[in-house]
């Protein structure tokens, strides 16, 4: 099966820098936030790729730039053979139907003045899919698919709980039968008991509809649960990428190791016995990332004669297991 995986998306050297502007009347650029700084990965059809990282690691920017909600500073995103970054107008619209997005804050991503029927039906309207009657039937079907009563079509978003609002967002994302859904922290704003409902729903839909997910999150235990492969980001770069089991059983990058050991486990016995790696200090600013390996300022295994001088490349150390650390072999 490994060899037959069909590549749906190829991201190559994606870069997104945001200018830092100063001055009130005459604005000038005084620097750049290097939010995404050369990110490459593949997405296979039907898989879930988890993209994890802490605040400011650039994971959300990767998702948004792929959809061209932000214009990339550089790099390619090849979706089903077509480079999204070079498309314009109608061609872009046509391919955008096949990619949709679910957002972190469900209420903020739903127009409060629209009924949920028109919210879920809007993608159909925008892309002129079907006539009015067909659209109405499709909306009913979508609501049912995400576990909402189709009779609720005329209600407004605020009448629903957080979990239900996220279901509305999912229904909207499904409207045009997309191939790929970019899930940007879809459960972070939900309560624990509701998170599980939404994750189960996403998994069911993936099985039924053969969807591909890019699942962006900072919650490592949930990412491990839902993902087939996982990419870990730090300061705009992917530091490690591997399938779920090898990244969790044998993380090769010191940052991944620290990140995983920092996740609290709801089990007092395991908590007492496990080894914790506590990183010192804060994540440096992406406006001025450290030279060389950008993790060297916090790395517990740093070698000062090398790490601050040379930037490590993402290397494939085991089949499918990529890591960007000069000394990753030490952990094999």
């Amino acid at each position: 099966m490994e060899d037959e995986r069909e590549t749906l998306v190829q991201v190559r050297g994606l870069v997104k820098h945001f200018p830092i502007m100063r001055g009130s009347i005459i604005k000038r650029e005084v620097g750049q936030i290097r939010a995404v700084d050369g990110v490459s990965f593949d997405l296979y059809r039907g898989e879930t790729l988890g993209l994890v990282g802490e605040t400011g690691s650039g994971k959300t920017t990767v998702g948004r730039t792929m959809l061209r909600l932000y214009e990339a500073t550089g790099g390619e995103v090849i979706f089903d053979g077509v480079d999204l970054m070079s498309l314009k107008g109608r061609e872009l619209d046509r391919i955008r139907r096949r990619i949709s997005m679910i957002f972190q804050d469900p209420l903020a991503s739903l127009n409060p003045r629209m009924t949920i029927g028109s919210i879920v039906g809007e993608p159909l309207l925008v892309h002129k899919a079907g006539n009015k009657k067909q659209r109405r039937a499709r909306v009913g079907q979508l609501l049912e698919q995400v576990g909402l009563n189709p009779h609720f079509v005329n209600r407004y978003p605020h009448e629903f709980s957080g979990g239900q609002q996220q279901r509305i967002g999912i229904a909207r994302a499904l409207a045009l039968n997309p191939d790929l859904i970019i899930c940007d922290e879809p459960i972070s704003s939900l309560d624990v008991s509701i998170q599980a409902q939404i994750v189960n729903l996403l998994e069911r839909l993936q099985n039924e509809l053969g969807l591909t997910y890019l699942f962006i999150a900072h919650d490592l235990s949930m990412v491990r649960h839902i993902s087939d492969r996982i990419a870990v980001m730090y300061l705009g770069k992917i530091v490690e990428l591997a399938d779920r089991d090898s990244i969790y059983s044998n993380p090769l990058h010191p940052y991944t190791q620290a990140l995983m050991s920092a996740v609290p486990i709801p089990d007092p016995d395991l908590q007492d016995t496990r080894q914790r790696i506590i990183l010192e200090g804060d994540v440096p600013s992406p406006a001025n990332p450290p030279e060389g390996c950008n993790f060297h300022t916090r790395c517990p295994a740093v070698r000062l004669d090398h790490c601050p001088l040379a930037e490590p490349e993402l290397r494939e150390l085991r089949p499918g297991h990529w890591v960007a650390c000069h000394y990753a072999e030490d952990y094999l």
Binding site: E54, T55, S161, G163, Q164, D191, V192, S193, I194, Q195, A196, Q197, V199, N200, E203, H218, L220, S221, M222, R224, H225, I226, R244, Y248, A258, L259, M260, S261, A262, V263, P264, I265, P266, D267, P268, D269, L270, Q271, R276, I278, L279, E280, D282, V283
Partner: protein, 330 residues
Amino acid sequence: MNELLRIEDLQTRFYTRDGVVHAVNGVSYSVSEGEILGVVGESGCGKSVHALSILRLIPDPPGRIESGEVWFDGQDLLTVSDEEIRRVRGGRLAMVFQDPMSSLNPAMTVGFQIVEALRLHLDMTERQAKERTTELLTTVGIPDAKNRLDDYPHQFSGGMRQRVMIAMGLSCNPKLLIADEPTTALDVTIQAQIVDLMKRLQAELGMAVIWITHDLGVVADLAERVNVMYAGYIVEHGTVRDVFKRTRHPYTIGLLGSLPRLDEDPGTELSAIPGFPPDLIDLKPGCPFAARCPYAVEQCWSETPRLEPTEIDRHTVACWRWEEIAQGVA
């Protein structure tokens, strides 16, 4: 262990335009000197409101503490004078809030904000207070503390601001520190730093801590005992080990089941709790969890269960059917 805080039948409501919100519905528990007690629950379960009630920080109107007693250090905090409660707050009983950015004054330097508290509560001179502030900021792990006294809150990162808040909480050597979701806004690696710091401080200074959180993992790591709250009630209480390993309440069971765990086989479906928490405005009689509980029977819909002892020492649960559930016959 000497009892430091005892709460009896605390009830807090909010009188809003939409109706009466039953935020805290008869909460009773105690905290011993030097222990860390976890309070876990989801949003709207009353965990923060109950903490604010202890310190009488509920805005009135619309809020009102309807009944209860809060015994701290020999005084009922709910009946002492306004002047006395102000002396207690930030002094012997301090609180750290979730969002350090909105609880620090953005227009005043960090140093000034701590110095102010020290001069007010401990009658220190400016110089003593400055020295003590430097010491405190060093204790909570702020590098080069001396030179950061004149910095403003926005010049600190999120994790560093939370350390400042903790330093402020510690400033007057409290006997009890109430920490309300102090790590929720932080990244996991920074959260690990703060949890580590709290453990160290608690061991060094011997203060008691009430740690309020929605994160069961943090509680498992940090606390000795835990209260599980749901819809303004404590539904289960016991040592962390008992509550996590010999869980008795269906809500706690559901909560633990809905968490994916790093130490478990992935790929299995999560056992989500169906439905969502009840509306606290028209909270009906009966068990608040009945509508989502797989074990609910008729009695659960009509009578509200109270915390009762279980077969485990110092482990209490508010459920009509806990015995049957524990024995696996429910």
